[in-house]
């Protein structure tokens, strides 16, 4: 059993005494059944060999898959047909993964990523439709709405101490209704038909369409920089800023964090707001890529949002994240999806394959970790 071995103080006779502030009921760190202390420290801290790093494995697997797919179907390397849409997919799903990563950093979950994205996309669409706002304003509104909903989730979790799984599950239910009602009310259906100026360019152009003299840019869609900025920002936030480090510390041990004077509640709100903000960005990006602000945005986000960070080595237990790994995880799933599409697999076979890949990848990760730990013990 890989669950926490410490008994949770569920109120035995002795705990009737007013607990000191240190023991005040901290919001539960996720639903718990994972992460022994050794796992939580992760390979990095234990000084493990490089091959125990899940990112290395991911790069190898991606390279092998790309080689395989492109030798089976040369069209896989076709820029217009495959590579450009592939980059767009990767960009969107990397941001979705980063949104989940922000919640995972605490050991929390955000089951409402998809619905937060939908609400954010709705508000952007509303701005364009009702107020004729320029493209940038819609983006900012989407980010703000996402962040506010995320902060609301974080606030409820902090104020009530209810498990993040339950809170975001309830929020998901709630937003599911709200988004549909809003589209009914304001869009008279399921989508806004408006296209603000610039949206089409953002949707279909790549940098190769923009030339300075005779030098044109690479065939990279205009959406990709959004994901790069998000990646850099998240990486720097968790790696370099005080707030980010404090969130990670809260994730690895809320009690220790509280004892070290970290405002745990506020950090939980921050992390969830970040998660909502990134979900909002993903919603905006998907709406742009689809060319429509519709109620169905975000419906397919839940599974990929966990796939990307978990494949990339982010633990569900909290306290350790890998932003770059998340992008690799998103790349892996998108490459598989595109490749199988080209090989004309049906959608059902695709789902089976992705599920199997996830299990295999995680099992290999586990085996690698066990091997590496054994080697680490025996110097």
């Amino acid at each position: 059993m890989n669950r926490k071995s410490t008994a949770t103080p569920r109120g035995g006779p002795e705990t009737d005494v007013q607990p000191p502030r240190l023991d005040a009921p901290v919001p539960d760190d996720g639903h718990g059944p994972e992460g022994t202390a050794a796992e939580r420290v992760g390979p990095r801290a234990a000084g493990l060999p490089w091959w125990a790093n899940p990112r290395v494995g991911l790069v190898v697997v991606i390279a092998v898959l790309v080689l395989g797919f492109s030798s089976a179907r040369p069209a896989f390397l076709d820029v217009e047909l495959t590579l450009v849409p592939l980059q767009r997919d990767i960009a969107v799903f990397a941001v979705v993964g980063l949104a989940q990563l922000a919640a995972l950093s605490l050991g929390h979950m955000n089951l409402a990523v998809g619905r937060m994205a939908a609400l954010a996309a709705f508000s952007a669409g509303l701005c364009y439709d009702r107020f004729g706002a320029p493209l940038v304003v819609g983006l900012v509104v989407a980010l703000v709405v996402g962040a506010l909903v995320g902060a609301l989730a974080g606030g409820i979790i902090t104020a009530t101490g209810v498990n993040s799984f339950v809170v975001t599950l309830a929020l998901d239910f709630g937003l599911l209704g709200v988004v549909a009602l809003l589209y009914d009310r304001f869009a008279g259906g399921v989508a806004f038909s408006v296209r603000p100026p610039g949206l089409d360019a953002l949707r279909s152009d790549t940098f190769s369409d923009y030339c300075a003299g005779s030098v044109c840019g690479p065939p990279v869609p205009l959406l990709v920089p959004f994901a790069l900025v998000a990646l850099l920002a998240v990486g720097l936030f968790f790696g370099r800023t005080r707030q980010g480090r404090e969130i990670l510390m809260t994730g690895s041990s809320p009690r220790a964090a509280r004892a070290s004077g970290i405002p745990v509640g506020r950090r939980i709100v921050t992390a969830h707001a970040l998660s909502g903000l990134l979900a909002g960005l993903a919603g905006f990006m998907l709406a742009t890529a689809n060319g429509a602000f519709s109620a169905s945005i975000g419906e397919s986000f839940l599974l990929p949002s966990f796939l990307a960070p978990v494949l990339g080595g982010t633990l569900l237990a909290g306290g350790a994240v890998s932003a770059f790994g998340t992008v690799l995880g998103a790349t892996l799933t998108s490459v598989i999806q595109k490749g199988l599409n080209l090989l004309q697999f049906e959608a059902d076979a695709l789902q089976i394959f992705i599920g199997v890949v996830l299990v295999v990848a995680l099992s290999l990760d586990r085996i690698r970790q066990v091997l590496a730990e054994r080697r680490g013990v025996r110097p």
């Binding site: 059993m1 890989n2 669950r3 071995s5 008994a7 949770t8 569920r10 109120g11 035995g12 006779p13 705990t15 009737d16 009921p25 539960d28 639903h31 718990g32 059944p33 994972e34 992460g35 409820i156 009530t160 101490g161 209810v162 498990n163 799984f165 339950v166 809170v167 599950l169 309830a170 929020l171 998901d172 239910f173 709630g174 937003l175 599911l176 209704g177 549909a180 009602l181 009914d184 599974l303 966990f306 796939l307 978990v310 569900l316 049906e346 959608a347 059902d348 076979a349 695709l350 789902q351 089976i352 394959f353 992705i354 599920g355 199997v356 996830l358 299990v359 995680l362 099992s363 586990r366």
Partner: protein, 335 residues
Amino acid sequence: MSTVLDEDMGAGAGQGAGASRRTALSLHRTELVLALVAVAGFGVLAATTGGNILQPGTMQAVLQFLAVPIVVGLAQMVVLSVGQMNLSVGALTGLCAMAAASLMADSGLTPWLALPAALLVGALAGLVNGTLVVLTRINGFIVTLATMSVISGLRFSINGTGTYQDYSPGLVRLGRADVLGLPVVFLVAVATAVLVWFFFARCVAGRMLLASGGNPFAARLSGISNDRSVVLAHLLSGLLAAVAGVLVVALSGSVNASVGDDLLLPSFAAPIIGGVVLTGGVVSVLGTCLAAFIVRLVDVAQAQYGINPRWVDLVVGAVVLGAVLVSQRRGKGSS
């Protein structure tokens, strides 16, 4: 209103006796509150619709469509009892429904063979889930997320997006029949709930699941294999999801691969509203059934008043959060 069992359960085995009694007490109160809410909601609905809901036909429809949510909620509850989750519940219900329908329609089996085969499929899938969790030591959430993807792929591979109809007129007649005004499918769901209650209350294996969920360390010291508990819980969860799938087949008369798509969130809603805690060790069959009934009432109210169906999701979300908040508040008050 006889949706309920006469007893409850709630015991954190492996904790102190006082804690266990307190958990039981708090659960009792949760169930009492839920029962009151259910009765009050039903009364209000009956009064405001001018007794419309009390018409035999309406009442039967209410209970008929309560059967699947109850069983699916129980399927989730069983894994929650050991502190695990099963995200594949909805997809598995769909797969078992499709398997049963396919065996009857394509292979020409009688329901007597096809339905047990579907149950076997569910149990096997559950076994795979549990084994994967134990062998890989990956969080059950992630494992079942992956198997959910696989299972829903399999579900579509049986018949694509096609629909099975007319697979067994006898079975469908049975699914729509009623005994003394109570639909057969509902009675099956209640019987399933009684069995699950009996399993957790009186069977050694059930007590072991609760012990593993409540405090795995103590459970291990008492000679209980936590791994076995996890596998058993997932297996039972798969079996119950298959029961739900069979109920769908009997009830609806036509099934396609989208069955189960909308069951995942309700499967969590029922036990969570019912007072089951996510960390394991506590189950409440009565609470889960009552919660499913309350969610069903919201549905019925929507239909009766002609409200936009989207409000249902909103209300259910609020109810989930509200129920957890209330029980949390009460928990703090009593300690």
